[in-house]
Symmetry: C2
Subunit: 401 residues, 2 copies
């Protein structure tokens, strides 16, 4: 059978990810990897999870193992609403949809808004998993200026030239993947202005928001928009949160927070797509969050901060002339700009062979595959001795050209 004859047109956009191919290499013990943006498994609150599964299956196994509602487990939605209020987003459980990780949130929001040929505004670079999720809905990408200065008319004209409408701006404002950079408050405000002028939604990806190591927290875009309009129901920002970086990714629990009208539509979408996220996992995340969330995140911050500091010191020590890098206030990533004309993918191929050090070439994060001149390093799951050794190896590989 020739399967190409029955595939949807979208399938031409769904390609293997560079990160995925790279992760296959991590099985070789001699490789030091700065590639994955994954939490350190040694830091998972395993005992709290063990106790929570045990309690859920002792207290009420008939509920924990059964089908449940598409919008998600109500006590967890209430806990999340409380957390959202704490960061400046007063809302109710009805403003929260539980998703299977924030990756599913991005998929659903692409599905909600994109028809083929519509335009999504994304950073240049941006999270490659967002491009992967949106690609299924066949959009055109236009460049979002993270400072919020690109004129709306220019963006609209570009979208119309492609025959669609601008639907949303997608960005991560805190310690963004891949750059580690944070959008300042003024730029957040300008982005709300831009979205208002274009009459589009904002998808605010907050996967790393809890992991701030220095500096003052800036309110999420959704909080700034509520401050303007007085009520989440009048807001155009859809906030995507995740427990993957704070508690554990293996349960696949994240959320979308936004106006009830939109959450209601997304509930229908989730019902049609997978009925609901795992009942027992939602109950367990609720228990673990109520028990250990704040002190656990405090512990993560201390560990990851030390690793970031270590990586920045090693970069200062080991990088040859002509290399620059970001100094993230949180998250898991440092973005390294290589000497002019050096390509990240070529460097990776050489580094894996001669120095046994892995990272993600920058091109994967550009919607148009441009800019090969950078790489992404993650410091989250590598201990300090290995960071020293790995960055020294990277320095040698770059110096060798």
């Amino acid at each position: 059978m020739d399967w190409n004859g029955v595939f949807a047109t979208r399938m031409s956009r769904m390609k293997a990810s560079e990160i995925r191919e790279l992760l296959k290499l991590l099985d070789q013990p001699e490789i030091i990897s700065f590639a994955g943006g994954i939490p350190d498994p040694a830091l998972f609150p395993a005992e709290a999870f063990r106790a929570a599964y045990d309690e859920a299956l002792t207290a009420d196994p008939g509920t924990a193992l059964q089908y449940s509602v598409s919008e998600g487990y109500r006590p967890l939605r209430e806990w999340i609403a409380g957390e959202m209020a704490r960061i400046g987003v007063p809302c109710a459980a009805e403003n929260i949809l539980i998703t299977s990780g924030s990756q599913q949130a991005l998929d659903y929001l692409g599905k909600l808004m994109l028809s083929p040929g519509d335009t999504a505004l994304v950073g240049w670079p941006t999270y490659l998993g967002a491009l992967g999720a949106f690609n299924a809905y066949e959009p055109v990408y236009a460049r979002l200026d993270p400072a919020g200065n690109r004129p709306a008319e220019d963006i609209r004209a570009e979208a119309e030239a492609h025959g669609g409408a601008v639907k949303f701006a997608y960005l991560s404002v805190d310690f963004a993947n891949p750059t580690g950079q944070t959008t300042d408050r003024a730029a957040r405000e300008r982005l709300i202005d831009l979205a208002e002028t274009l009459d589009i939604a904002i998808i605010e990806d907050a996967a790393y928001q809890s992991l701030r190591y220095d500096g003052e927290a800036i309110p999420p875009i959704l909080a700034l928009e509520i401050a303007r309009r007085g009520d989440i129901e009048a807001c155009r920002t859809l906030y995507c949160g995740s427990f993957s970086k704070t508690l554990a990714p293996g349960l696949r629990v994240g959320w979308i927070c936004g106006a009830r009208d939109v959450i209601g539509r997304l509930v229908l979408m989730k019902q049609a797509a997978d009925l609901h996220s795992s009942t027992i996992n939602q109950m367990v995340v609720d228990r673990v969050a109520r028990t250990v969330f704040a002190p656990h995140v405090e512990r993560l911050r201390a560990t990851y901060k030390a690793r970031r500091d270590h990586m920045l010191a090693a970069l200062a020590r080991e990088m040859p002339e002509g290399v620059s890098w970001t100094r993230p206030e949180g998250g898991m990533f440092v973005w390294v700009t290589l000497p002019a004309q050096m390509d990240g993918a070529d460097l990776l191929a050489a580094s894996l062979k001669t120095e046994k050090v892995a990272f993600v070439p920058g091109r994967a994060f550009y919607a148009d595959g441009s800019n090969g001149n950078a790489i992404r390093l993650s410091f989250s799951s590598t201990d300090e001795a290995k960071i020293d050794e790995g960055i020294a190896r990277l320095g040698r590989a770059i110096a060798r050209g």
Copy 2:
């Protein structure tokens, strides 16, 4: 903000489901419900699950709570491949993708094949959740004759009139939701012929396949196709399996079995949509399946068979003249055809008011909303005394007209 301005065209197809609205009524204790197609929670192997979560989090919490590969947990894929071989489908782990329930399998297969205006062949009636999943990809539906007798040319002409191509035939061959009916072997063979003539895929939904109470098992369509072609890699059938009806739905674990080329594309799709299904839940389902699967399913069969027998006896006793119903050899459903001119939705409204008995009106299962003249009853989660009482109430409601 006017959200309609940013919604994708697909959103006009995503509506609230009648079943969902109905399920909200089940909280009232005086209602006897035959509405949901849900397993009896009293039958869940809760102790096996409790032990398996405990073991997974004691043996290797760092793996159980971490990200994992999009194709799924390899030991579980191997166990499933073994089960598939047992029912006539020799295959390898590489032929299996783990999904978040078989509902997600249907969503992914719609996404894989349907561009707007393409045609999906479905039963009249068919599983309403399949229509819900496919609707997101904006297909046209054409009628699949379950006996496999509708001429291919007729189907192709209908699809072309809508400007798209026929992409697949979707059906459940064993104790189908909603009718409870089973497709005989000759009809399965004719469906393979039809798919071959049209050069389309077959989506075989096997959610209820393990729950046979009488009669001889008929090989799945995929088994019959492998018998013809000698190898799963040459087959056009994509088989969707689920642990929701055999072990428990709350973990959201199902699978797709098919040719590697297609599974490989679906792995990319899953990676973009939600990265992977819950790691720990896959490890736990693997442990529970290896420990209790066969004896547990045997126990389910005995219980559900008794309930089916009870419901069929009660229907024979209580239904007024002019009512007929199916006699399923397995599964969870009986399909009741009402006296001519009686509408299932009207009957439900009346039944809830006067008799406090719930079921699903038949119209929800028709792609064109036709045929209001039937209702679906589930016998899976109601004990025998309540089946007697509920069917007596239903008989009174129908007799009252």
